[in-house]
Structure formats: structure tokens, C-alpha cells
């Protein structure tokens, strides 16, 4: 049983009609109080179904979800956990007929299609490409096409959550621009594409995120039926991490709050890590005036005095200010240890060795985290291997790879192409080799290649596979008859499928997996990972079909072929989320620093890698969008200069470093390699600031 502090108890046990704005730095026990407050409400007779938990992103609801699954909690209704986007979508699904007439859709009598990020990107690609091809749009901007599409979508979303017409996007961005003139044209291009996308959505009943938000905000929330439903259903509110939420959420809550019986609004100081997604900590602060009561938690519950002192000294160092008087005494050796190596892999070896010694001294691996601004796959892989060699379990924030990089999906899609000659997609020799290698149990790379060379041809743009028996006997012998028979079974299955009308791709994949690949003698037999990836692929295809199936059908384009091409193009890049065999919790966690912060889970030891990198403070630059200029409090007509940029960088770094240190119990280890992973020398602001603190010693 957790022990709660007196301030926590006063929040948890506050009356059923209390509305409190609870704020304070990270790791002062705010969310803990929020979680316990829910248990308190339910245990004291509040129906679970009348409680709404609102968070900016789903992972932030994790502590609440865990508490709600706790066996001690009385059975009953379900607590609703939502993001504002989820709330909008759910309301639209329920109340669509109420507003369909006013929605501006060309066919209001037909149901809308909800777009995922992926399917929105797919449509955006279709809309933008002709502009680029025929009218030279975005010629001066150096950016990968997929990021271009996603940034235009992002702009639409920002306009929706910040609350200005999407038609003002270009003008807003342009008026703050100080750089190259050609860029102004790019903003106008982005505006045109955003308009065209919106028109397209309205014409074909497509609801992307921005439209969902706008329709909810402008039509559903003001609609008495919908509003009554929401206010009647939810009587108690917990809204956590408000500083990471968008102004729209804050508007909604400001408006909704009088209707709740009780409310607990929670906000962190010095955060706002989702700013690039539209989060607005300044906007969150106004909610304090709407609540009857304001409480601030200030006592750090996690970090040691030495780490707290380091944090206190690092803050002015980052801000390039003199240390204010009265700072706690610096005990740097207890809080920080720095190690320098010439080369990057040497530094990683040092990290692994140090982790081993910590574990040997009794630290559970789960109490150690390895952080960097970004984690390259090479870093992730190398460090994991080093830790495995030391017998230490590790986990990483990203258990997945993009679809097109996943060998299993690659193999499945190759087989799909082989089964559908009418698509006229001819996989390369190596694609077929790797597909056979995975599909046929016991096949080795040498034989797979030999086999492919003989049986696979592209004839008149169509792939063909020949029969095993047509191979010369001595080669059959080299491949072995057992493997040959398995190949033949695969070929027979594919050719039998070819004989009939094609199925939708997701159905095809289900059958291929169920009837063949999961059977004895084939590669996916008893392999859970591959089964899971297949399921994930099927789900992605399904979603794609729901979102774009009708449009493609109308244009007489085979959905499966289009899906394949989009995966190849990188427009569809679904990541699969591992559902089975989750990694052990007691494992060293490797993550980008921001991911660690958003997981909000303190640890005893932190390793900071690439301390010289700019990624610690650099905003994700996006040539077509801008989180600050598109935020609510940006004065239109002001110019975004380098001074703004520097200020924002320092602020980000300070919030990040402080957020990390507040989540560190004992010590930070900084690993520096003179030459970075890429062979560059790095001397970023974090390193400079740490150096400054060291010199204070």
C-alpha cells in the first residue's frame, strides 16, 4: 500500500463536488493523487461509468488504466479514458445523423469514412502529386515527399486544435517568415494543397482528424442533444497532463467544467514536450481560474538531494545566467559521472560495462535507463547486443519497424504479387529468394537462391513460377526433394488461387497464412512473431480497404496492387505494435529522452548518450509548418527570428534536462565520444552547460 503525503490525501479525499487545479513540477506526486482519487470515488459509490479521464495521448493514461484493472477495485461500470480526438470521433460516430446536413459533405445522407493518419496521407499524396508534377509546387523545398504530405496534414490539424480557419495557414506562416523569398511561395503551395485536401474530403465524405475536430467543436458540442448526452454521462472529470494538451481541450474544459460534479485538473510545470503537436502549456494555465481551488505540489518525491542540487545549478547554466544566490550546495560527484572515449562503440562498451557493475551491485535492470535525443537503429542494436552478452535484459521504446522494412511483410507482399499476375508487379530475384527462404521451412539461403534462379521468371511483365519437376534431376537433388516438395506445395497453392477471382488482399493474406504458411513444413509454423506480424499487416490492409476501398473501386484500381505500391513508396508505413511476449519489465530501458519523459516513470540511474548532440534542444524543423507561429498566442505579423529560435532552444533544453533529473533518483552517467556515431565532433549546448556546472565546482 502506498503511503500518501498530507497534500496528496487532501486531494484524494476532497469532497465529491470539489473542482481543483493541481499543478507543480514533475515527480511531486500529482498523478499518483489523481489515480488514487479515482479509486476513492469508486470505492465511495461513484459509478465508474460517470467518470471521464482526459489525457493528451493514450500512453499518459497508463497509470490510470493500471489502477482501474486493480482487483481490489469494486466491480461495476467502466471508467472512460479518452483523448480529445477520441472524444470527437466517438461523438461523431454516435451523433453523425444530427449534423450530417450541416457538415458540408457532398453526400450527407451517406455515412462518413474516418481516416487514419495513414489513409489521410494516402489521399494527400494523391492530391499533392499533380500539383507538383504539373504546376511545379514545392520545387524549392528540400524535403522527402512523405514528410511533405504529413506536414500539410499537420497544418490542418493544428488549425483545428488551435482554433483558426485552415484557410489562414499560408498567410500566418508567411507573415512570420524572414528567410528566403522562394519560401513564401512554398507556404502558398501548402495552403493550396490543404484547401484541395479539405475539398476532397468534403466531396467524398472523408473525415480526417482536423475535420473530426472541427465538426465536433463547431457542430456537435453546441448541439443540445450531444452535449446533454455528454454532460449527463460524465459527472466526474480527471484531466491529467493538461500542459501537453491542445488549446481546443482547454477551451472545451473551460466550457464544460460547470457541468461536472467534481473535477481534478492536473498540469506540470516546465513541461510542454508535445509542443510540436500543438500542446500549449500557456493555454492550460488559464484553467486554474475556472476551478474553485488551486493546489501546488512542490516537494520532489523522487530525486536525491545531490541530483536536485545538480538540477538547480544546471538550470541557470543552460539559461546562460549567473547562479542565483541560495542554491543548494553542489555535490556533483554524487549526482554525475562523465566518461570520455574517442570512438562511439568504445563509449557503448563502457555503458554496457557500467550497467553490468550497477546490476551486480544490486540495481534492478528496470531501474536503469539509457537516453539519447534520438536512437539510431545501429545504436539500439549494438547496445542491446552488448547487454545480452552481459546477460542483462533490455527493452527499447520502439518494438517495431516500418512495414516495408519488416522481412515477414516483405515476404508476404512478394507472395501476394506472385499470386496476382494481373497486377503486373514483378518482384526482384532477391525478393523472391527471401520470400522462399522465409516461407519454406529448412530452406537455406544458398538453395533458396539456386531455386529462385531456376523457377522464377517475369514474362511480359507478369511473374511466373515453374514446377519443381521441370528442373533437371541433378539440380533437384542439390535442392533436395524434401524442400522441392514444399516449394511445389507453395507453388500449387498460389496457382490454384490464380485460377479464381482474386480476393481482397487482407482475405488473401489470411488464407495464405492459415492454409499454407502456418502449416507444418512452412516457415510460419509455430512462429508467433511472424503470426503477429501477419495479423498486423492484415489489419493495416483492412483499414486501408475501409478508408479507400470505395474510391479505388470507382477508379477500377485493384486495392491490393495500390496497397503494395504505397508500401513501396513509403506512403504507408504502419508500424506494428508487439502484442505478445512483451519484453520483461525489469529490463534496461533504451529510449529517446522525450519518450522517457512521456512514459513518466522515474528510475535510479540514467545514462545520457550523445551529450554533445543538438537533438537535445533542437526543435524538429519542418519547412511547411511551425508549432509556435501556428500557436494561439503568436502575434500575427511578428517575425520569427534567430533570437526566438535560440530562446526556444534554451527553454526546451532546460525543461528537458530538468524533467529528466526530476525523474532520476540517484545519478546521471554521461557518456561522451569525441567522435559521434557519424564521425562528427559534437559540442552542443547541453555539454557546454554541464561543463559550466563542472567549473563551478
Amino acid at each position: 500500500m502506498l503511503q500518501y503525503t498530507t497534500p496528496q490525501l487532501s486531494i484524494i479525499e476532497s469532497p465529491f463536488d470539489a473542482k481543483t487545479f493541481l499543478h507543480g513540477p514533475a515527480m511531486t506526486g500529482k498523478t499518483t493523487a489523481g489515480v488514487e482519487r479515482i479509486s476513492y470515488l469508486i470505492e465511495n459509490g461513484v459509478p465508474a461509468g460517470s467518470i471521464l479521464i482526459l489525457v493528451p495521448q493514450r500512453t499518459l493514461a497508463e497509470p490510470y488504466r493500471q489502477a482501474l484493472y486493480h482487483p481490489d477495485l469494486p466491480a461495476g461500470g467502466l471508467v472512460t479514458t479518452l483523448t480529445v480526438g477520441g472524444l470527437a470521433r466517438r461523438s461523431l460516430e454516435t451523433f453523425w445523423p444530427l449534423i450530417s446536413e450541416e457538415s458540408g459533405f457532398a453526400q450527407p445522407d451517406l455515412p462518413p469514412t474516418f481516416l487514419t493518419m495513414e489513409s489521410a496521407q494516402y489521399y494527400m499524396a494523391h492530391i499533392v502529386r499533380p500539383f507538383m508534377r504539373e504546376e511545379g509546387y514545392f520545387e524549392t523545398v528540400t524535403i522527402k515527399r512523405n514528410r511533405l504530405y504529413s506536414q500539410i496534414i499537420d497544418n490542418l490539424n493544428k488549425a483545428a486544435v488551435v482554433g483558426f480557419p485552415h484557410t489562414e495557414l499560408g498567410e500566418r506562416l508567411q507573415s512570420a517568415w524572414v528567410g528566403e523569398l522562394a519560401q513564401s511561395r512554398v507556404y502558398a503551395d501548402a495552403q493550396d494543397c490543404a484547401n484541395a485536401f479539405r475539398d476532397f474530403c468534403l466531396e467524398y465524405n472523408l473525415l480526417d482528424f482536423s475535420l473530426q475536430i472541427e465538426l465536433f467543436r463547431d457542430l456537435l458540442w453546441p448541439n443540445p442533444t450531444c452535449r446533454r448526452y455528454l454532460t449527463d454521462t460524465y459527472r466526474h472529470l480527471i484531466a491529467d497532463n493538461l500542459e501537453e494538451d491542445v488549446p481546443l481541450t482547454h477551451d472545451l474544459l473551460e466550457n464544460w467544467l460547470p457541468d461536472f460534479d467534481s473535477a481534478l485538473l492536473i498540469a506540470d510545470h516546465e513541461a510542454g514536450y508535445r509542443r510540436f503537436l500543438g500542446a500549449d502549456p500557456d493555454s492550460a494555465r488559464r484553467l486554474r481560474h475556472v476551478c474553485g481551488k488551486e493546489v501546488e505540489f512542490t516537494t520532489p518525491l523522487v530525486s536525491s538531494p545531490a541530483v536536485q542540487a545538480f538540477n538547480a545549478h544546471l538550470t541557470p547554466a543552460i539559461r546562460r545566467e549567473l547562479p542565483p544566490p541560495g542554491l543548494p550546495t553542489l555535490d556533483i560527484d554524487s549526482a554525475l559521472s562523465i566518461e570520455i572515449r574517442q570512438y562511439y562503440p568504445e563509449m557503448l562498451t563502457w555503458v554496457a560495462d557500467k550497467i553490468r557493475s550497477l546490476v551486480e551491485e544490486g540495481t534492478p535492470p528496470g531501474e536503469i535507463v539509457v537516453l539519447a535525443p534520438f536512437l539510431s537503429d545501429a545504436l539500439r542494436f549494438s547496445l542491446r547486443e552488448l547487454l545480452i552478452a552481459q546477460g542483462i535484459p533490455s527493452r527499447s521504446h520502439r518494438p517495431s519497424r516500418a512495414l516495408r522494412e519488416e522481412p515477414t511483410t516483405h515476404a508476404l507482399l512478394t507472395l501476394a504479387a506472385l499470386a496476382h499476375p494481373q497486377w503486373e508487379i514483378t518482384p526482384s530475384q532477391s525478393d523472391v529468394t527471401y520470400a522462399l527462404l522465409q516461407a519454406i521451412k529448412g530452406l537455406d539461403l544458398i538453395r533458396a537462391r539456386l531455386l529462385t534462379k531456376i523457377i522464377y521468371r517475369a514474362t511480359q511483365g507478369k511473374p511466373t513460377l515453374s514446377n519443381f519437376e521441370r528442373i533437371r534431376p541433378e539440380t533437384q537433388e542439390r535442392i533436395t526433394y524434401q524442400l522441392g516438395n514444399r516449394y511445389q506445395a507453395l507453388r500449387d497453392w498460389l496457382y490454384a488461387y490464380r485460377e479464381n477471382d482474386p480476393h481482397p488482399l487482407d482475405h488473401f493474406l489470411s488464407r495464405l497464412f492459415g492454409e499454407l504458411l502456418s502449416q507444418p513444413g512452412f516457415g510460419f509454423h509455430t512462429d508467433h512473431d511472424q503470426g503477429e506480424i501477419t495479423a498486423n499487416l492484415i489489419e493495416s490492409v483492412q483499414k486501408f480497404r475501409w478508408a479507400v476501398g470505395k474510391t479505388l473501386e470507382a477508379a477500377d484500381v485493384p486495392l491490393g496492387k495500390e496497397y503494395l505500391l504505397m508500401v513501396q513508396d513509403g506512403v504507408i508505413a504502419a508500424q506494428y505494435i508487439k502484442r505478445w511476449g512483451a519484453p520483461p519489465d525489469d529490463a534496461v530501458f533504451m529510449a529517446p529522452a522525450y519518450t522517457f519523459l512521456m512514459n513518466n516513470h522515474p528510475v535510479t540511474y540514467q545514462f545520457w548518450l550523445n551529450a554533445g548532440a543538438r537533438g537535445w534542444y533542437e526543435r524538429i524543423y519542418q519547412p511547411l509548418t511551425h508549432p509556435y507561429i501556428l500557436s494561439r498566442d503568436w502575434e500575427q505579423g511578428e517575425i520569427w527570428t534567430d533570437a526566438n529560435e535560440t530562446e526556444v532552444s534554451l527553454e526546451r533544453l532546460q525543461r528537458l534536462a530538468s524533467g529528466l533529473l526530476r525523474r532520476c533518483r540517484e545519478k546521471v552517467y554521461i557518456g561522451i565520444s569525441t567522435l559521434s556515431e557519424q564521425g562528427y565532433e559534437q559540442k552542443g549546448l547541453l555539454l557546454q552547460a554541464v561543463n559550466r556546472v563542472l567549473q563551478e565546482r
Binding site: 520545387e139 524549392t140 523545398v141 528540400t142 522527402k144 515527399r145 514528410r147 524572414v178 528567410g179 528566403e180 519560401q183 512554398v186 546562460r320 574517442q342 562511439y344 562503440p345 568504445e346 539510431s376 537503429d377 545501429a378 542494436f381 549494438s382 547486443e385 519497424r401 516495408r404 522481412p407 526482384s428 532477391s430 527471401y434 527462404l437 537455406d444 539461403l445 544458398i446 538453395r447 537462391r449 539456386l450 542439390r478 533436395t480 513501396q568 513509403g570 533542437e618 524538429i620 524543423y621 519542418q622 519547412p623 527570428t641 534567430d642 533570437a643 529560435e645 535560440t646 569525441t674 556515431e677 557519424q678 564521425g679 562528427y680 565532433e681 559540442k683 557546454q688 559550466r692 567549473q695
Partner: protein
């Protein structure tokens, strides 16, 4: 620590303002500049967020400076690596652009394509253009050609020429800060068409479009955009000016105009050091040694470093007489500024680096005109005689072009002399690491190949090659030969029952064990085939490499190949393997890939180093051969000279790349009297080439410490003459 010479002392006294230093070869300018940087840091005048910025020309110099300054700081009890930043111009431009990519229209994840990738994109843009305009150059071809010959030239010669034109056009346009759109608009506004420039703009446009599609910029864009960023945002400029209160620039004679512009914007206190007589990168760039001369003249503190302890006094006076002859006697008036004082002065006898004792007889200016082959034979023979007597000395042959070096290398090998070719094509460790990985990837891409598997075996046992025991390596070669003969690789690596190839061989126990271990290793490697390329490389590396540097290079290669594979999702293993082969041949310059700390001639005593004169810059050897000093490689502007840039199939000796650039410049010139006139640019290009070649000869001569041999050949058709400067030097010595 060594005591600075008086001329060096004067430079170390620098505190603020501008200082220009003209330094002769071997005068210790890197040493002095490093010491100055360390001095400034130690004076405690810098804020914590300020740095001394050192800008130099090539990556190996970056390492050199970094290490030296670090050592000087350590000697003063300070932390190395802090308070200074050493960059090439590209590195600096990268730093600046990375400050705010969005300012110049770049995504934060913008990629930099290196020369090779850039070349590939440009070549394909040029080919596409030529395909659409097959007859564009008809008017420029020699009118005496019949249709058959014209057709042949169009097919065989024009693609290369157009690519060349495109290369120079794009570089120059970027140096002039022109986008394709801006150039296009200007050309459209002109009343008179400029067809060559039109062609250039079209290819430039296609090239930039391809880059943008990849989300990438090239090296020249980096510089162009850095300058643009500084001009666009005053705050950024102010911040960087604050960050770098001192700028020390090395090799300033090779600074391009835009480099000078960038540094001029940034600099408050600016020291430029260089030797205008060694400016040898002018062709195709906007660098001009005159710019440095002007700067030195106008600087608050003009200085010279005239003393050099490198060479014997005879070699010094030969170099000085080349300067003198050029200044006063070159028949081409315009070429007389190619070289200028200060003359090289020997050090005082008590100097820590006193000149070697003079041996005038060790300067050989060979009058005889050889055939090209005969010249190489003579050099090989000379080396064959010299080497046995000088096992502790260093020697290099400076060739005009790589192909010449290859021929010479073959001849030397025939005489059992293994030449050092590192400077021609590779940097050692990167090449070895990339090469080893490349061999394995090549096998994995073609796993049924016994040949490739045999190479993998040699890679796996490569330590034996460098080991003391030659027999071990012989055995490795034998076993590799055996693998090569394995007709079905699967019978070795994944044998079915009773089909194990290994058991059919009659091997000694140790040999069999080696092959079994090898099999186990390769089985593991074969399983990596489905991993992403970076993980595959890292996995292989764990088995292959042991030293920190090898592992670091492999790690970088892993990241590099992963980026490539992200950019080209359809590339399979063979294409990626090709890229590794390119790295192995060192065609691909890794920017800031600092595992190679430059070439050290002293590490190759008793061996023959082959190098181009360009690559030899900054280095020195006891004995130096400068070869092929004829009027083709070193023309003097005489009527009978031939020029590499004037193609034989183009009419009127036109240098079409130069003509194209002249059209571009005319389009943007406000001076009506400098309108484009055909042929003028070709003539001007000749003069520039003549001047650059004089400086190249000067560089060649000043590489020698004790002995110098200069030879020439008559060319394949026997029509070439000795270079005029060479003749003048001979006369001077006689």
C-alpha cells in the same frame, strides 16, 4: 616545447584585428597557427560559449589541427577539445545550415549527397538532356567532319562533354548564389539568346529537382545555403559572430569567393594564412590567389613566414628561380603574376629545423625527351638503383594523372618494388574495413559463388597476410584456392546427409579445423541476410573486427548504408555492396570522417610513394621525382601548346565548359562592354591554366628535401615539347 622563430613570434603576438600571413612551403604555418589558437584560448579572453574557429581545406588537416591544439592546451594544463572548433569550409557550412535549416528551405533531416551520388544524379540529368537535344552541339563540332564522324562524336564523346559542362555550370551557378529559377528568369529576359547557358540551366534545374526529391543537398549547396542563411537572419549572424570571436584560416590561397564572403560576414578578428604560390585548386572554382594577396596587403598586420628548413639550399634556389623567371621572363605577360615573392629563405644554422646539408649534384633536370613509356621505365630503373642504398629515406614520384601512376606501379611491381599507392586512391583503415565488409556482402548477395566464398575466407584470415610468418598466409591462399574449386557451395556450408564436401578432402587436422570454424562463421553470417543492412553490418563486424577504430568505422558504415538504403528502398544487397566498394576505393569522401589522420611520408621509409602533384601538397620527401613536365601537362601559352579542356572534335579550339560559364556570367553582368564574345573565355581559360600549372610545378619542386629529379616526355605521337619553365630552370642551372 620548440621555440618559435622570430617570424613566428611576430604572428603569435597577434591580439585583435586582421592579420594576413604569406607563408612559404615548409615554414611551419600549421604549427604556428595551432600555437596561436592555443594561446588565444589560454589568454582567457573567451566566454564559455565562445570558440576560436579554425577553417582549413581538407579533412586530414582538421585532425592535424585538432590534435596539435589539444596538445598545446594540455601543455598549458587546460582541457583539450574545448574552446575551439576546426572545420573545413564544408564542415563550417554544415554547422551554419544545421543551426537553422528551415531558414533556407531545408527539412531538419536533410541529407547531404556526396560527390559520387551528386555525380550520378548530374550525369543522368545531362544524359536525359542530351537525349532530348541530340543535335544541339552540331554547330560546335569541327565542320570538316563527315556525317559518320559527327554521329560517332555525338554518341561517344558528347555525353562526357555535356556532363563536364553541367558540372562546371552547376558549381559556378551555386557559387554565384543562383537558383535554376533565378538563372532561368534572367535568361528569359535577355534579348539575345545564350544557348550554352540555356543548356546549363536546363540541366541544373533537373539536377536540383532530383536532389529536392531526395530531400538532399550537395556540398556546394551547403556553402551557398550557409551564406544565404547568414544574409537572411541578422540574429543568427550576430549569434555566430559572438560564438566565434576569432577566426583563423589556413590555406587561404585556395579559398573560394563565397568562402571569403562567409568568413567576412562572420569575422571580427580574422587571421588568414596561406601561400599564394601554392594555389592549385583554381580551375573550376572561384578561388583566386590574388584575393589573399590583396587581403595581406590591406590587413592591419601583414606578415610573412619566409623561413623554411625543409629543403637543401639548392632546391630552395631552384624554387626561387622559378618564381623569379615567372615574374620577369614569362613570355605571356598575363602569366607573370602566377608566382610572387616572398622568396624562400633558409633557416639559421642553429634553428631546430636547420636545412639539410646542400648537395647540388642531387638535382637532376633531365634534358632528354623520353617516350611516355620510356620515361616510366627510366624512373623505375632509377628507383631500382636508389632504393637499396637508402632504406631509411623517403621518396615519391609526382605524376600528372592517376593513369600514369598505374602504369608506373605496374613497372615497379615487375621490378619487385611494391609501391605505396595510398595517396592515389585510398585512406588506409577506412578502405580496409570497408573492403573486408564489402567482400562479405558481395558473397551474401551471391551465396552460391565459390569464388566469392574463397575471398571471404581470405578476409576472415586476413591477419595472416600482415603476420610475420609468410607460410601461414601461403596456407590461407591454398585453402582459399581449394574453396574456389568447391563446385556446390551448399555441400560445404549446408550439406545434406553424406554430402559433406569437407569430408571428401584430404586435409591436415589444423586445416580442417580452420575450414570447420569458417563454416560455422559463415552459417551465422548467412542468417543475417534478412536483417536491416545496419544490423547486418554490425553483426558481421562483431565477428570480424577487434580494434576500436575498425569498430567505429564499421559502425559509421552501418549508419551510412542504412541511410542509403532508406533513400533507395529498392536497392538490394548488390547495390549496397557497390557502395562499400566505392568507399573502399575512397571515391566517396566521407565528410568529417576523421579516422584517417592524413598521410605520413615518414611511415613509408624505403618505399616508393606514388601520388599526383595535387595530392602531394603539404607533404615532403627526401627524394622527389616530378615527371611528364611537358607542354601538355605544363603549357606556357605558346601557339603550339595543347590544352586538356579543348576537345579535338570541337571547332576553333573552343573550351566549351569555359564558354558556357562565360555566357552565364555575361547574363548576370551589368557591364554592357563585357557582353559574351565567343572564344574569349577559351583564351582566358588558357591563361588561368598556364598560371595554375606554374604553381603546380612550384609545389612539386618544394616537396623535395634533399634530392630532386625532373623528367619530361614527348607524348604518344612524339609532338610534345619540354615545358618552357622547365627549360628555363635548366638554363638557369647551367
Amino acid at each position: 616545447m620548440l621555440q618559435p622563430r622570430p617570424s613566428q613570434e611576430k604572428i603569435l603576438e597577434y591580439t585583435t584585428g586582421t592579420m594576413g600571413v604569406s607563408a612559404v612551403p615548409g615554414s611551419g604555418k600549421t604549427w604556428t597557427l595551432s600555437l596561436l589558437a592555443a594561446d588565444i584560448i589560454a589568454r582567457n579572453v573567451l566566454d564559455l560559449d565562445q570558440e576560436v574557429l579554425i577553417v582549413t581545406l581538407v579533412n586530414s588537416a582538421v585532425d592535424n589541427f585538432t590534435q596539435r591544439i589539444g596538445e598545446f592546451l594540455k601543455q598549458r594544463g587546460l582541457l583539450p577539445h574545448l574552446g575551439y572548433r576546426v572545420r573545413t569550409l564544408h564542415g563550417l557550412a554544415h554547422d551554419i545550415v544545421r543551426e537553422r535549416p528551415a531558414l533556407v528551405g531545408l527539412d531538419v533531416n536533410f541529407q547531404i549527397v556526396d560527390e559520387r551520388e551528386g555525380n550520378r544524379i548530374r550525369t543522368s540529368a545531362a544524359e536525359e538532356w542530351l537525349y532530348q537535344h541530340p543535335n544541339f552541339f552540331d554547330d560546335y563540332l569541327d565542320p570538316d567532319f563527315d556525317e559518320g564522324k559527327r554521329d560517332w562524336v555525338r554518341r561517344e564523346k558528347l555525353p562526357r562533354l555535356v556532363d563536364d559542362i553541367a558540372y562546371q555550370f552547376i558549381r559556378t551557378a551555386k557559387d554565384m548564389q543562383l537558383t535554376p529559377q533565378a538563372a532561368r528568369e534572367r535568361l528569359d529576359d535577355l534579348p539575345i539568346p545564350l544557348p550554352l547557358a540555356e543548356a546549363g540551366v536546363e540541366i541544373y534545374g533537373a539536377y536540383q529537382h532530383s536532389l529536392a526529391y531526395r530531400g538532399a543537398v550537395d556540398f556546394d549547396d551547403l556553402i551557398r545555403l550557409a551564406y544565404q542563411a547568414l544574409q537572411l537572419d541578422e540574429d543568427l549572424l550576430a549569434r555566430l559572430r559572438h560564438q566565434w570571436p576569432y577566426i583563423l584560416e589556413d590555406e587561404a590561397q585556395d579559398s573560394s569567393q563565397v568562402q571569403e564572403k562567409i568568413l567576412r560576414l562572420l569575422a571580427q578578428n580574422w587571421v588568414r594564412v596561406g601561400d599564394p604560390n601554392q594555389a592549385i585548386y583554381e580551375t573550376f572554382t572561384t578561388a583566386k590567389p590574388e584575393l589573399l594577396r590583396d587581403f595581406i596587403r590591406e590587413a592591419d598586420f601583414p606578415r610573412t613566414l619566409p623561413t623554411s628548413g625543409r629543403s637543401t639550399s639548392s632546391i630552395i634556389s631552384l624554387a626561387n628561380s622559378l618564381v623569379e623567371w615567372t615574374q620577369s621572363e614569362h613570355h605571356l605577360e598575363a602569366a607573370r603574376t602566377a608566382l610572387a615573392p616572398p622568396y624562400i629563405q633558409p633557416t639559421s644554422p642553429d634553428d631546430h629545423q636547420a636545412n639539410p646539408p646542400d648537395r647540388a649534384e642531387q638535382i637532376h633536370l633531365i634534358e632528354k625527351g623520353y617516350s611516355p613509356k620510356g620515361e616510366l621505365k627510366a624512373i623505375a630503373k632509377s628507383l631500382e638503383q636508389w632504393l637499396p642504398d637508402h632504406p631509411e629515406e623517403t621518396v615519391a614520384v609526382l605524376v600528372p594523372r592517376n593513369t600514369r601512376a598505374q602504369h608506373l606501379a605496374d613497372l615497379l611491381r615487375q621490378a619487385d618494388i611494391e609501391p605505396v599507392e595510398t595517396l592515389l586512391r585510398s585512406t588506409s583503415q577506412t578502405r580496409k574495413t570497408a573492403g573486408a565488409l564489402g567482400n562479405i556482402l558481395a558473397y551474401l548477395a551471391n551465396p552460391g559463388s565459390a569464388n566469392k566464398l574463397a575471398s571471404v575466407y581470405r578476409v576472415w584470415r586476413r591477419d595472416a597476410k600482415e603476420g610475420e610468418n609468410k607460410e601461414v598466409w601461403e596456407e590461407v591462399k591454398e585453402l582459399a584456392q581449394l574453396i574456389r574449386k568447391c563446385s556446390h557451395v551448399e555441400d560445404f556450408l549446408a550439406p545434406g546427409p553424406d554430402q559433406d564436401w569437407l569430408s571428401t578432402l584430404d586435409l591436415e587436422e589444423e586445416q580442417e579445423a580452420s575450414l570447420r570454424d569458417f563454416r560455422e562463421m559463415v552459417e551465422r553470417w548467412l542468417k543475417t541476410i534478412l536483417l536491416p543492412i545496419d544490423q547486418m553490418i554490425l553483426t558481421l563486424s562483431q565477428d570480424l573486427f577487434t580494434t576500436p577504430m575498425e569498430l567505429a568505422i564499421a559502425h559509421k558504415l552501418a549508419v551510412f548504408l542504412r541511410q542509403l538504403s532508406n533513400a533507395h528502398p529498392n536497392w538490394g544487397l548488390p547495390s549496397l555492396t557497390d557502395e562499400l566498394a566505392v568507399v573502399a576505393r575512397n571515391e566517396r569522401r566521407f565528410i568529417s570522417f576523421t579516422s584517417d589522420t592524413g598521410f605520413d611520408p615518414e611511415a613509408h621509409k624505403g618505399k616508393v610513394v606514388l601520388t599526383t602533384a595535387h595530392k602531394a601538397k603539404g607533404l615532403e620527401w627526401d627524394r622527389v621525382y616530378v615527371i611528364s613536365v611537358n607542354n601538355y601537362n605544363y603549357p606556357s601559352g605558346a601557339a603550339y601548346d595543347q590544352y586538356i579542356s579543348e576537345r579535338w572534335y570541337v571547332r576553333d579550339n573552343l573550351n566549351l565548359p569555359a564558354e558556357t560559364l562565360a555566357q552565364l556570367k555575361a547574363a548576370f553582368s551589368d557591364d554592357v562592354f563585357h557582353w559574351y564574345e565567343e572564344g574569349t573565355a577559351s583564351q582566358k581559360a588558357r591563361v588561368e591554366y598556364v598560371k595554375e600549372r606554374l604553381r603546380l610545378l612550384y609545389v612539386g619542386i618544394t616537396r623535395a628535401k634533399k634530392e630532386l629529379v625532373i623528367t619530361w616526355n614527348k607524348g604518344r605521337r612524339g609532338e610534345l615539347q619540354p615545358a618552357l619553365a622547365f627549360v628555363a630552370l635548366q638554363e638557369d642551372r647551367n
